[in-house]
Amino acid sequence: MRFVRNSFVFAAALILTALASVSARAQSTAPPADYDANFNYDCDRACLNGFTDQALAAFVAHDPSRLPLAREVRYTENGQVLRLGDGLWGTASAVGNYKIYADDPQAGQVMFMGTLQENGAPVILNLRLKVELKRITEIEAVVTRKEAGSFARPENLVQPNPIFAETVAPAERRSRQNMIAIANSYFNAIEKGHASYVPFDKDCNRIESGVQTTNSTPTNPGANSNSVLGLGCADQIKTRNFQPDTEIRDRRFVVVDEERGLVFVEGFFDHDATLRSYKLTDGRTVQQTRTAPWTWQIAELFKIKDGKIMRIEALVNAVPYGMKSGW
């Protein structure tokens, strides 16, 4: 009888454990309306990535209502405030395999860079979510497509460089503000045309909208005849090839992933097109082919290890000159 009783208790415990587990899972996506001292309000890396995956699935299902949303949610797509359900919510057709995440539990923000199908056509998506009290309060999407004025090559994005998912050893980490300062130095260097203060790793490489734009061979798809594409991150800037970039504006350092050494920045590269030709430091003269003002909206991820920029992965989107971010 005692055995039976013990078995009963054991079975009940199992059921309770299972229920608790279900409850915990439910809690991660359905916070209580009123304050609950027993509820885990924190959202760690796995939690933030879970929100991202849910959001991607909701885009493809054309159904934002399946997400744990805060009462007030702000959604922008390519800098425009849209109603949830409009824009990409109506056209996303499948999530791709190329996925990079950066997580900032302290700020409650997560960044996703990856591929997506839109009515069957490949596009590159950058997604930022803000999660507060385990509900989504902000969704910011930047989508770049293969179109006139764009050099995007989503088909090139097959497998992300594993470096983005690697944890940086504690001794090689830098503080949040230090990491932001490093990323910021990159933009300052492009504006000013000198790279001496940017801590690039010697093997630094950059991918923009699926195109490798450093240490690239002329045959690289999407690359043009601009010979500086064959140079590395630092050498390219030192040539003063970026003189047409008149201002890198409205920089927002929205996600800092200290554990993985990632900083994610959104902003705009303005080109006022007043420079019709310019000289590189090697004496060559470059004739500017673009004669009208233009702006790139950028979403740029930096991998920083031991205080050095190892890799840059960016999404670049053509928008009207001087356009604002919506944030």
Binding site: H62, E77, N78, G79, Q80, V81, L82, D86, G87, L88, G90, T91, E118, N119, G120, A121, V123, R145, K146, E147, A148, G149, S150, D272, A273, T274, R276, R290, T291, A292, P293, W294, A318, V319, P320, Y321, G322, M323, K324
Partner: protein, 330 residues
Amino acid sequence: MRRVLFIVAAVVVLILGKAAIQPGGRLAAGKPASNNCDRACLNGFVDQYMAAVAAHDPSKLPTAASIRYSENNVEMKLGEGLWQTSDGWGSYKVFVDDPETGQVGFLAVANEDGHLSCFAGRLKVAGHKVTEIEIIAARPDRPGPAGSGNLTGGPDNLKDKPLFSEDEPASERVSRDKLIALADGYFSTIQLNTGKIYTTFDPDCQRMENGTITANNPDPKAGAVQRMGCQAQLETGMLKMVTRCRDRRYLVDEQRQMVFAATFFDHNGTVRKNTLVDGSVRTIGPPFDRPYTFLIFELFKIKNGKIRQIEAVLNTVPYYMPSPWVKASK
């Protein structure tokens, strides 16, 4: 459920579209300017504006302290954008003068280092000073969805049309409100195009967009759709993928019976199949299978109360981009 939601959404869109023609349907917010600036005066301001742009010098234009400037739907400081890059203008120029509201719409060809753009602008004048400048420059290197290249006929095709500088006899004019209703009805016809016509077309109506004749094109080598007349084209219901003609604003030249309209064509990318009025089914492909928006200035010449000529300058902008000139654009 989704279907019901879609129908509800479509009805809402239609209602919103109708709402746009209500009293706010005059170009530029605020009261009509109290002006003594007639047609010659307004055109003179356009000439001064163009000269000032070519000189890269806004100070050559008499402007109010509160002057606002937008270029391709982005508000910026006077002196930025085209002000810095202009290398003058082509000879093409069309004016639409509205002395009643102190506004003038105009078409031109902008030159930036030999790269020509179809150009449309609007000035507002009060107290003999320019208070608002709104321009669209459809530049050759402008971004745009793949497949939208059929709207790139270009500025070389822009030739003077005597029609645009003809006064209409008083007996053949229609009222200001009727002129606005004709232009607005054109947009209502296009929005979620069902084949029902909400305006009146002259049988010879022709439409040009960024230098391409896109309706009533006399060239036998032009596409079948481009050779169709304005009304015949829209009676097919083929433009259903234009999900909204948003934020419509108008200025009116009663003497010449012209309307100069500002609007956006939103394509939300979800209309993938379209059953035309004749029962045939069309699959909607690029560029309409993704969200995008056209920013548009569109000129209508009306004769005897019928739309005779349409000429538009348009640029692609991010989907659903609001206008800096429309309050609560959402």
